[in-house]
Symmetry: D3
Subunit: 244 residues, 6 copies
């Protein structure tokens, strides 16, 4: 692995990376990481109600959603963003999409990855994206897939926060302080004009997680201050030389 | 909190701390921590079959078990070991024991703690010890318990590896490399003369966990070498400024 | 939504709707609902052992199963029944089937829906039908799917009772009194000539659930009488103005 | 049961009923219910950090906490509030406390009850209160407990929202709209002067649950408006004559 | 262990052993086992509604319940039945009760044991009995408990069927054919005059489990006939020389 | 079913059957069973790192892996081994593969089957193989699939031990003593030249499971000696005439 640290976000729909790990993206860019975002779809069918109500065509919706996502990515200092246009509600997975994502994974060689919760009865695209991400991670690790390429190590897969955590069976085990990049996350959220009602929703999520950060870092007896945080559930165990 | 880093092990029976987190103890002592071990019982009734078969009396069994535990603690460079003599098979919990353990917790002010798995149908002492540890941790955090004393922050509680992991519903999410202190752990295990059959069992556990360490730190593509490791399940989320 | 209340049953095989929610169908028809049943297959391969033993051809089996299902539907006063003939053991899902079911969902605009348990190691068609139902529900909610059509709201999805509840991880949280339509359910079951052994089985199921109804509605102290009931597990939370 | 509808809240510490079901209390009082609150302790040791820092004595802390709870109860129009003074961090359960609570349950004859989540590693008082509530409910149903008294039926037990839902394994299946009594809940929260940092925290909780209310009552296609809501997990199945 | 095979039932209330494992008792007596039943209470307070409604006194209720249990035991050919009179709704556990049960376990040296489900929100006596049974089993295995006595091996603990299986999280993994002793079980049930409504309920349970027996022993292709069965969930793994 | 007892292993990659149930295969061959192994792939892409590092071509890798698997099968006295060459990392499932496996199942008419754990985030091929095995088992039971053929009964599906048991949610409920065929398993493992590091790993697994065998068959009080064992999780309940 080169010295450049990297991370990779696999986002089912164009806006997911903003609400769910926008803070982590901006934070790690600030820490010197190159963060790549892959949007499997533009969310053109299922998450663009306002645009459809306005009578936009499919191409217009895609184009507007793409522009919003690019603007949000810029606000977060994203290193690279790619759109796979795999359809939406539902996503159409398959061998071609797999190979594209495996190529990206191998190119990026991420220190860690992000994707959705394991279960989501509201949106099966989300949970199938996680399954897909795990499969692509596995293929990228295979020495026999495009032999000669650099194979993937064993990066963590962080599941980012879904809309209704308890219904998805999602349980965070890491809280990340994003206070110093909060302005970037808020700015990125404000690029998503079709989902204005979510700006405050995810602001409150960040405030609640900051409270949990304080509680778990010392509580009433020296808990570290934190204004905004994001929570993640890691799939794989970690390997350490010192506990903490 | 003073600059001295500390850790606290709450061990149901005298030998548990050796098999289950002996490596972590030696490792953190080496890293400069002061590690305190609390043995709720000597394991005199349930885990001393050989001594009873030899016709020893209760006091003799306790005395022998205590000596073995002290020797093992010494082999691990344990900072301090305390024996609460709370009975065995079953342990007799209660307010007095609670207060003793809370006093120790507050005195130690651990950066993190260890105890047993949440469920253990083979040995209900183990799972009740974890419940007890959580209660004592909660009391130690209360500003109204012995007001004026320094209250506890929010240390992690690591559940150490039980004998049959899957039956206990225990799932490790942290692997600790203990290769450089392995000799100390093996020496400590060899102090437990009544359970010779476990020396090799827990040596193999450490080897298997080392394999898991390698797999999760990079696998075929750069996984870090590791000869011996211990696994832990953390109860509480962690709070970080950078993911990894 | 129009004033006409509606419900939709997504049944993997032709007979599932009878055993698993026949009472709910008859009851809601009686309450003024229009209930539509979609049978993904006739159950011609996996659930027609008797007919195959008699030497029937595939077309004959399908035809007989269809007739039985139509008769059962009539006995339950079903508003509409549709057969998608998607194959059997296994069902062959895909985009075409999705679009048909989404069209039906949008046409029906159900107040609530029914499908199978989330897990079924005996019959993977059942659990894949539930996954399929969730995906179709999601597509039907998308403003960008066939723009201009009326999109779906957020109907509850009730999982009906599988054959061996505990093996499927199915846990009912609603019991429905079907005493006043029991005769219709029994009559519908008696239309299924290939599965005579199940008539009494599901009669007993209804009696057991009636006992649970009584127990949960007051028990020894005023539990409401109930002779026959059906149990359901709801996937989504409910929204209320008064608890009960 | 008389025509007067009633509800009963079993709150481990004096303030729990405010944060966790204050809206439900005010709402049901407005709907004509008589709601009784039982505070097992004043939360004098574990949840009164500010007072202890100010140097108050135990009796002063209890007295202040009691006053706050009474004021909050008044703000919520609570019908009756009782303090059992069972100790705090930890609560001391036992036969005497059981009998007191059983007497209250039988006197109130609640249509439904509230208590804490089933698991809480941060605060074992919470989870033991739920176990205690279930035991008391069971005793109150026994015809042989104080024969001649009116026995309890089978009221629902709602588990109210804990501080970190995912860590407690709590999953809401009912959302209650509390918009029209929000001012009362906010006023009640503002009576808890020792926990000012929680006023906004639980305001945001109510706003997030309102979003979930909208999402689950129709979402983009006619979801009912809601500004503030509370979520609950019901322990027991419900018994109905019509699904919804 | 002597050649005499034995089994031990730990029943919270006097009637539990009849409904939940009466068939297993009669079957194993027929197979040559000596089956001992321990009733922790008579179920005098919580499960004798009819007697209390008739105005019986506590002693009368206990006496009647004892007589019924003895009659049922006789009908099942029970080898020995013991009543510990530990109170009811709730049971009062403690060191004295533990020692009695450990003495019985060691005397019986059971090949396997029975107790209740791990979770029961309707009846916390049931789930605490299971916890108690596991603790007593552990003590009986301790070489240091009453040294010189024959210690216990590692008998299976079978959890018998609770009233509402899914609510208790109980999942059977063994079905036992009790067809040839069904008459004995029915006769035993008919000894329980206070719970007439359960006779048919548990007859239907046995019929449903027989259906599951057939399904799991071959189904449509050679499933063994079975008229009545009981289901059990085993806590511990089994050790074999041949799979089946 | 003929008198010849049979078993069937469905192994995702060519080597899985060796590490995970090689002992069970040799043991049951010795007991007179005919054991058939189906390898869905050669594991040519994902589990042959050494060969790719050496610059082998795809055909060479497949050929070498096939030879190793055949040698291992011979060492285990496997009755028959078939290779379906369904691709690797990922496996490509589909109707054609289904039909091949169903044909094999019906030809073999196994008394029991083996496959992978239900969940595996490291290797989604494993968990999809289990889903596939359940579907094929279901089709093989259908009287309408290739009518006239002998349909399948209801064989147990044993899930064999994955590499990191706790991460896969795998919990063994049967331990099989393989001491008397250990030499064969070790010899078979030594045929897998590309995965030398696993020889000792799976030797230690067998030793640990032997310890668990002893613990569960009597422990300190008469646990049966055992040097090597394998653990399995059974999916379906068992049907018995006597408990044990």
């Amino acid at each position: 692995m080169s010295d450049q640290k990297t991370a990779l976000v696999i986002s089912a729909h164009a806006a997911d990376f903003v609400w769910r790990c926008g803070g982590a993206i901006a934070k790690h860019q600030k820490l010197g990481y190159d963060v790549t975002v892959v949007c499997l779809s533009y969310g053109e069918r299922g998450e663009s109600a306002r645009l459809w109500k306005e009578g936009k065509t499919l191409d217009e919706v895609k184009s507007i959603r793409k522009k919003e996502a690019e603007d949000a990515a810029k606000a977060l200092d994203v290193h690279d963003i790619e759109f796979l246009d795999m359809g939406d509600y539902p996503l159409r997975f398959g061998q071609e999409a797999e190979e594209k994502v495996v190529d990206i994974i191998r190119k990026v060689q991420p220190n860690f990855m992000f994707s959705h919760s394991k279960w989501d009865p509201y949106n099966t695209d989300h949970m199938k994206t996680t399954d897909f991400a795990l499969t692509c991670r596995m293929i990228a690790q295979a020495w026999g897939h495009n032999p000669g390429e650099k194979v993937l190590g064993a990066p963590q897969l962080y599941l980012f926060e879904p809309h209704q955590t308890e219904q998805m069976g999602w349980k965070p085990n890491v809280f990340l302080d994003i206070t110093d990049v909060w302005d970037k996350k808020r700015a990125a959220m404000e690029c998503m004009n079709g989902q204005v009602h979510l700006w405050d929703f995810y602001t409150r999520v960040a405030q609640q997680r900051a409270n949990h950060f304080k509680r778990n870092s010392g509580g009433m007896a020296g808990g570290r201050d934190c204004q905004y945080a994001e929570g993640f559930e890691s799939i794989f165990p970690t390997c350490v030389d010192e506990l903490s």
